[in-house]
């Protein structure tokens, strides 16, 4: 990018980004949690072999929990969350998927890089937890809906469409096909709000954009900080 469109955006510190720090287990067990998991792991070591997938999961969970226990000095690393979820699915395929909530959607998209700043959409407050809606009450074999309202850093930001596309691609790749995804610019945040909204939610245009190698390259770069 030869020139920044918005050179001085407001930046949130990573530690201020919303995460699941309010988790009830965390509150209940506090520092004791580390000891408990350690004890469970020790017991499992006695029953199972070292290569047991269950054991590996415990290890990952420990890592995850430890990050939360250290009073959220950093946002939990997404890679770890994903790896943990994936291994969960591998070992317990019969289990139903966890219900998706706004925080989970936020975690999926907050680490997407801004196309012109070396910062994430979460840090720039382009995506905000309060602006994510999830409607998923009909069960696992029914359709569900996710609505994400984004706040471009400036009202004439020409990259708003690209950011929206990045979010859509990220969610389409991560969520079950039962989710209908709507990406909107937050009311009053952009000059050509309706045009951008229409384009971002046109299935055919999005499908065609995803076959454009150049565009896909830019989007992949934006998403590379997610994993």
């Amino acid at each position: 990018m030869s020139e920044f469109i918005n050179e001085n955006p407001d930046i949130l510190d990573e530690t201020l980004l919303p995460s699941r720090k309010e988790d009830i287990t965390n509150e209940l067990f506090g520092d004791a949690l580390g000891k408990i998991t350690h004890e469970r792991k020790r017991q499992l070591l006695q029953i199972g072999s070292v290569d047991s997938p269950v054991l590996k999961n415990i290890g990952l969970l420990d890592k995850l929990l430890n990050q939360q226990l250290s009073l959220d000095e950093t946002v939990p690393d997404l890679t770890d969350i994903e790896t943990a979820t994936e291994s969960d699915e591998n070992t317990e395929e019969e289990e139903e998927e966890d219900p998706i909530d706004a925080q989970e959607i936020y975690d999926l998209i907050a680490h997407i890089s801004d196309p012109e700043h070396p910062l994430t959409l979460g840090q720039l407050a382009v995506v905000n937890l309060a602006d994510i809606e999830v409607h998923d009450t009909n069960g696992k074999d029914k359709m569900a809906e996710v609505i994400v309202r984004i706040t471009p850093t400036i009202t004439h930001c020409s990259l708003a469409t690209l950011i929206g596309l990045g979010i859509r691609v990220r969610l389409e790749r991560s969520l079950s096909p039962r989710f209908r995804i709507t990406i909107l610019l937050k009311k009053g945040t952009h000059q050509s709000e309706n045009q951008v909204n229409k384009q971002l939610n046109d299935k055919e245009r999005v499908a065609a954009a995803c076959e454009n190698d150049q565009l896909l390259g830019v989007v992949s770069k934006m998403l590379s900080t997610c994993k």
Partner: protein
């Protein structure tokens, strides 16, 4: 109570299936994001052929059989149209021959959204994100195509084109929220009406299969299906069309496809995965039946009545984002 029964679900594609068409020989063609075109016998549900998938470099968005022939047109996001057929030299049994690429039509600037043949098979209409509709004159073999008109009055992407079954009329639906009606005026195609009313992209439209009325139904991103009626055609360039009705609301999301049956039923489907059948009664249009989750939790891109086979059996086919084509039996009673 009328109802729909799933006869067969065909897992044909690895990605979204966008379009499906059946010719009068009972051969179904399908197009998909996986860039493949498949031919399936609608009687046995067996795949007959997979066409050469190197012909298109991107999504095959739309497929259409030339009436009363084995010639197929396919429009792609790679901005070209491919024409397919059997090069019959008169000696071989037609069924033994492979379908070959007869022609590639170039002209549009970017993604082709829809292709449609006129009822006599002489003209092919194509439309694109480049905001234009092109009308091509085809030779009998389907090898030579001459562009006879470029229609450029839509202000945005043209999503869909469809011809009237007997009159020289073409309807085009657009991202600009309108439908335009085009008429043959001394070998030049002119826009004779603009249908305003939808509050979102118009994804598709279809003419009534009637010789007494000239009506059109249209399905939109606004979730509605509307009926338009030709009020006055004074023989001049302009036609007067009015919005006759909005069908009872039965969709919760965008309506991607509408199709009017020869018997007068309208079918619609879309993002909510519903397949809805409407019937015209003395008190206006009513919803005859709704089938939920026609392609599971996926979106349904297209619905089409099948005119092939016994007159007593009414079939519908749907194409979904799950890559499947589903064949439905519609029971009127």
């Amino acid at each position: 109570m009328a109802g729909l029964k799933l006869l067969k679900s065909l897992a044909l594609h690895d990605d979204k299936c966008w379009s499906v068409d059946v010719n009068n020989g009972g051969i179904m063609a399908t197009g998909s994001t996986d860039r493949k075109i498949k031919l399936v016998d609608i009687r046995s549900f067996q795949i007959i052929e997979e066409l050469d998938d190197t012909a298109h470099k991107k999504t095959v968005r739309s497929v259409a059989w030339r009436p009363h022939s084995n010639i197929l047109a396919a429009g792609s996001f790679d901005s070209t149209v491919s024409i397919w057929g059997k090069d019959d030299d008169g000696y071989n049994d037609e069924n033994d021959l492979e379908t070959e690429l007869l022609a590639i039509i170039e002209g549009h600037e970017n993604e082709i959204k829809c292709v449609a043949w006129s009822h006599d098979g002489e003209l092919l209409a194509t439309c694109s994100r480049d905001k234009s509709v092109w009308i091509w004159e085809a030779d009998e073999m389907g090898e030579e195509f001459e562009c006879i008109s470029v229609l450029q009055e839509h202000s945005q992407d043209v999503k869909h084109v469809i011809w009237h079954q007997s009159l020289p009329l073409l309807a085009s639906s657009s991202y600009d929220d309108t439908v335009r009606i085009w008429k043959d005026c001394d070998d030049d195609w002119e826009c004779c009406a603009v249908l305003n009313g939808h509050e979102g992209t118009v994804w598709s439209s279809d003419f009534e299969k009637s010789n007494s009325n000239v009506r059109l139904c249209s399905g939109s991103d606004d979730g509605t299906v509307r009926i338009w009626c030709l009020e006055d055609d004074n023989g001049e360039y302009e036609q007067e069309w009015i919005q006759e009705s909005i069908l009872p609301k039965a969709h919760t999301r965008a309506v991607y496809s509408v199709n009017w049956s020869p018997k007068g039923y309208i079918a619609s489907t879309g993002s909510d995965g519903r397949l809805v059948i409407y019937k015209e009664s003395e008190d206006g249009w009513i919803v005859e039946c709704i089938h939920e989750l026609t392609h599971g939790v996926y979106e349904t891109n297209m619905v089409k009545w099948v005119e092939y086979g016994s007159k007593d059996v009414i079939l519908l086919i749907t194409a979904g984002d799950d890559g499947h084509v589903n064949v439905w039996k519609f029971d009127e009673n």
